[in-house]
Amino acid sequence: MQQMFSETIWLVPLYALIGAVLALPWSPGIIRQTGPRPAGYINTLMTLLAFVHSLFALRAIWHQPPQYLSINWLHAASLNITFDIEISSVTVGALILVTGLNLLAQIYAIGYLEMDWGWARFYSLLALFEAGMCTLVICNSLFFSYVILEILTLGTYLLIGFWFNQSLVVTGARDAFLTKRVGDLILLMGVVALLPLAGTWNYRELAEWATTATIDPKIATLLSLALIAGPLGKCAQFPLHLWLDEAMEGPMPATILRNTIIVSTGAWVLIKLQPVLALSPVASTVMIGIGAVTAIGAGLIAIAQIDIKRSLSYSVSAYMGLVFIAVGTQQDETALRLLFTYAIAMAILVMSIGGIVWNNITQDLTQYGGLWSRRPISGICYLVGAASLVAFPPLGCFWSLTEMADNLWNTHPWLVGVLVAVNGLTAFSVTREFSLIFGGKPKPMTVRSPEALWSLVLPMTIAMGFALHVPILLHQWNLLPEWENLNLTVATPLVISTLVGAGGSAFIYLNDKIAKPIQLKPKAVQDFFAYDLYTAKLYRVTIIFVVGLVSQIIYWFDRYLVDGIINLVGLVTIFSGESLKYNVSGQTQFYFLSILLGVFLFVGVVCFPFLSQLHLIISP
């Protein structure tokens, strides 16, 4: 019986897809009478079904060797593309995480989208995302991972562009699509280049191939860099990180998904590709470099934001940077564990602030204050999420961060420094948000702020409960180190950085004696981080400028040179007709002249050989 669940695991994405299709009839243009709510209920039910199915499947697959299924998708000439599925405890565990978080986000959306008519579209897109992510995690083929990443890129575009009558939403959706698309396209180059080298797109066979592969280091480097580029865009790493900031224009329940799992899709592919990427030491260095720069940079930017959603979105980039570092240093297990603990913590944070935004309208951190006494549940959830996000023993991310630092300690000690710094910065940032929202005195926007609806609070508290149980779960799965094995040389600085970050932040922002808003002495530095290192301007003067210029030039070339040459032929014909008609002068004598000239010419041409010989005849 239980075996059946694990063998039919491929049904899990289909539940969501069915939900996506079933939701559509409640679009306002089709069912005009009864309102859009059934779309949401159906999808929540389908997600619940998928979640329960995955749970049973996990029970069946637990402590079993992974199973592999393969479906022939396309067979043409010598190319054979198969859709491979891996059923292991990791993939099914990821399915549970995906469907579980989706379930929470969909229940959350039932409350959050109370006053919205677009449920059909919203829930269809959420379900499309769920289906895509479920397919991605069980899919064991790089080719189909790419296919799904592209579908999810399109889904991101549509989901961010949900309220498309707002101009910022339209530009945000555009940037999200194009930025992620660029990464995906470079990934496609890598995917296509990999087939002739490895002869397969199956992750398992790729890993086997990579152990014995001997390829030119230059090719390995280029290939690995192309394979990194896709996840680079997906995970909102520098320099392709602006889209995540602008994606915060989308609806909040979608943000839960985006900040927790969608950005993790890139990391998932990156982790799966780790054996191939390990072929090139340059690629590992690049990954570590990008990860470190993003983690530190985004950590600093997050502190300088005044928009509460954007502040969290930069923490997302920072943590994805840590995943990059983990993969760059060949710790794929640790990276997976970090994704797991991070996703749960970030989900709680986003849900908590979503509830705050829902009935305080503003997203401006400087307009908040004094919510602790009236919003205790949101506040406690936020605290638990924040504590799970940073290295705060015994909660989730402490273990993954410590494990990562432990692995790095002997090989890359300076990366432990990065880890500690990012942890401290994130602790500072999340505590700053907490202090500004929940601490201090109420401001005009927050004077009357009741706790949100049950459907906003319920998923938040469930997630909080789960986050509190994560250490127990990890212990149950034997993923926690023994106390005596715990590397205190790295664990202590991590915890200290958490305490320093959080304590410093609380001291600054909960202290009435320090004037708010905080002004850094060099205003330029504060602005530099507040405006996200001026990335929008950077894009505008580099890529956008160059592409714009080139397209202008090509347009000009096409408009004036290519078209012009053809038009010139027409013009010359017209002009010659217009000018040659003056040969018809109306003078009879002129006609005589032309006849005579023609005759002379013709006779001259015809007789020329004879005339030239004539000379010879006469002369002797």
Binding site: K581, S585, Q587, L596
Partner: protein, 101 residues
């Protein structure tokens, strides 16, 4: 007396005729130039029949035909000039440029 001189004279006469044909403004003088050209042709025919075909003298028969046809052509030509003159009251060739582009 040689054939060449005869031909060169005829050619010269023909060229004079062409010059007159193309440059004259008076329509009658154009007809006169045409007569000159026809006479140049006749000279050619006569010269060839004299020097190359003295027995059969086919050229002389040709000449007679050309003179006859030239007379007829001159008659028709003058009639046309008269017809134009009646309408336009001039024989200036440069006034007859209605049929242009």
């Amino acid at each position: 007396m040689q054939l060449q001189y005869c031909l060169i004279l005829a050619a010269a006469l023909f060229c004079i005729g062409i010059y007159g044909l193309i440059t004259s403004r008076n329509a009658v003088r154009v007809l006169m130039s045409i007569e000159l050209m026809l006479n140049a042709v006749n000279l050619n025919l006569m010269g060839f029949s004299n020097f190359l075909d003295p027995s059969a003298i086919k050229g002389q028969i040709f000449t007679i035909f050309v003179i006859t046809v030239a007379a007829a052509e001159a008659a028709v030509g003058l009639a046309i000039i008269l017809a134009i003159y009646r309408n336009r009251e001039t024989v200036d060739m440069e006034q007859f440029n209605l049929l242009k582009w």
